[in-house]
């Protein structure tokens, strides 16, 4: 069993305990996951208070819905991060607090992607995704990653990547479908 599997098993055990309203397990889960979750929300929102609110909302939801988690929803960590990510996107839309499209963000995004991948991409699923992302065209990959990590709208992508909206939309659409074909292989 790899370190990743052990980790996910532990998270799974904690989620099951949380579904039984075990508060100690909930706190342990928070200690294990909140750093990753806050990092993701902060990157997405570029706003401290919004990211904090999203993490709070996400954990309140996790407390109430832990019993609804099942294997089809992906690894426990992915499931929890997905909840937080949707919440962040909702809050960003509600507040119209979108990050400004600009070079600094693009540079930052590149940092994340070119970072120490060997260290952070330990799981098989993550390696598979990374491999498939590498097969996309640079434009497709950038538009997908900017949407994922930055919550960019089509307008913002069009501005950031200096390309017409129609082109950007088609990069995303075709990129995602190519990604799916690759991941299904």
């Amino acid at each position: 069993m790899t370190a990743i599997d052990t980790e996910q098993d532990e998270l799974m055990g904690l989620l099951i305990a949380v579904a039984r309203e075990d508060r100690a397990a909930f706190q342990r889960l928070y200690e294990k996951v909140s750093g990753k979750m806050f990092g993701l929300c902060l990157k997405l929102a570029s706003q401290q208070d919004l990211a904090e609110e999203a993490v709070q909302d996400a954990f309140v939801q996790i407390w109430h819905h832990a019993g609804e988690y099942h294997n089809d929803r992906g690894a426990p960590l992915s499931w929890m991060l997905t909840i937080a990510r949707y919440r962040t996107l909702d809050l960003m839309r509600a507040r119209k607090a979108k990050p400004t499209a600009g070079d600094s963000h693009l540079a930052h995004m590149e940092d994340g992607r070119e970072g120490p991948l060997d260290v952070s991409l330990r799981s098989a699923g993550a390696e598979e995704l990374n491999g498939c992302l590498e097969e996309l065209s640079e434009e497709q990959r950038d538009s997908i990653l900017l949407s994922y990590y930055r919550g960019f709208t089509h307008d913002e992508l069009s501005e950031t990547l200096s390309s017409p909206i129609g082109t950007v939309k088609s990069w995303i659409r075709r990129g995602l479908m190519a990604l799916k074909r690759c991941l299904e292989q």
Binding site: L42, D72, L89, S123
Partner: protein, 235 residues
């Protein structure tokens, strides 16, 4: 729009990515509710793209985030905090006084378990706003998680004195009361609660009615006397 496999596939990916917005996003959420196939397609992407989330650098959130979660989930367990910021503001209404006001008004609280004609599988809160010298309750209160609605049905309630209105409040365990609007006397008052308000009500389970100028409190917090306080109970 028809749910063709191609369309579901393309929209699910954009839904999870976040690039599906506005009405298209809401329509797709309806599709998700209707079809397990659509949900499975979404789960596929949530799982795959979830790996992107896990590679972000960790950032430790401030301690206040955890205490906020605890406060929201278990407000009754909260340890007394000395000089909380929320109640410190100058000119704020001194809410903790409500219990004294209520006692002075010689108010008796009672619970009436409403008979639900069709018991449904959802959480319901129920209670009554009563007055000591009346046998009938002033209002019957029911809240349904399923319908997300709070209903106040007048039984023995009489109109407020001239030039005044009754205003309904949720009384949180700490912090300021939250207005649920002005209550008309002659008819059932029905409000749809948003997530945040429902959360607040289900944790505090306490409602209050204050006497306010016509149209309700001008400040957003109670300005007149608290006439009634009622606790709701889970059915």
């Amino acid at each position: 729009m028809k749910k063709t496999p191609e369309r579901v596939e393309a929209l699910a990916a954009e839904y999870v990515l976040g690039s599906l917005r506005g009405r298209a996003r809401r329509r797709f959420e309806r599709w998700m509710m209707e079809s397990v196939r659509v949900r499975q397609e979404v789960w596929f992407w949530e799982e795959k793209l979830g790996h992107l989330g896990a590679r972000v650098e960790e950032e430790t959130p401030p301690v206040s985030v955890w205490s906020g979660i605890e406060r929201r989930l278990w407000p009754q367990n909260r340890k007394p905090v000395t000089a909380t910021a929320a109640n410190d503001g100058a000119g704020r209404w001194l809410w903790p006084g409500w219990s004294l006001v209520a006692t002075a008004a010689a108010l008796v609280l009672a619970v009436i378990l409403l008979q639900q004609p069709e018991p449904r599988d959802d959480d319901r809160l129920s209670g009554a706003i009563v007055q000591a010298d009346l046998t009938d309750p002033l209002w019957l209160v029911s809240e349904s998680a399923f319908e997300r609605q709070l209903k106040l049905r007048p039984v023995a309630a009489t109109a407020a004195e001239q030039g005044k209105d009754y205003e309904l409040w949720i009384v949180p365990a700490d912090g300021q009361p939250v207005s649920l609007g002005v209550v008309p006397v002659g008819e059932t008052y029905q409000i749809t609660l948003d997530d945040e308000t429902r959360e607040l009500l289900s944790s505090s389970r306490t409602l209050a009615i204050s006497l306010e100028p016509l149209g309700g409190s001008p400040t957003g917090t109670p300005t007149g006397p608290i006439l009634h306080v009622a606790k709701l109970y889970e059915l």
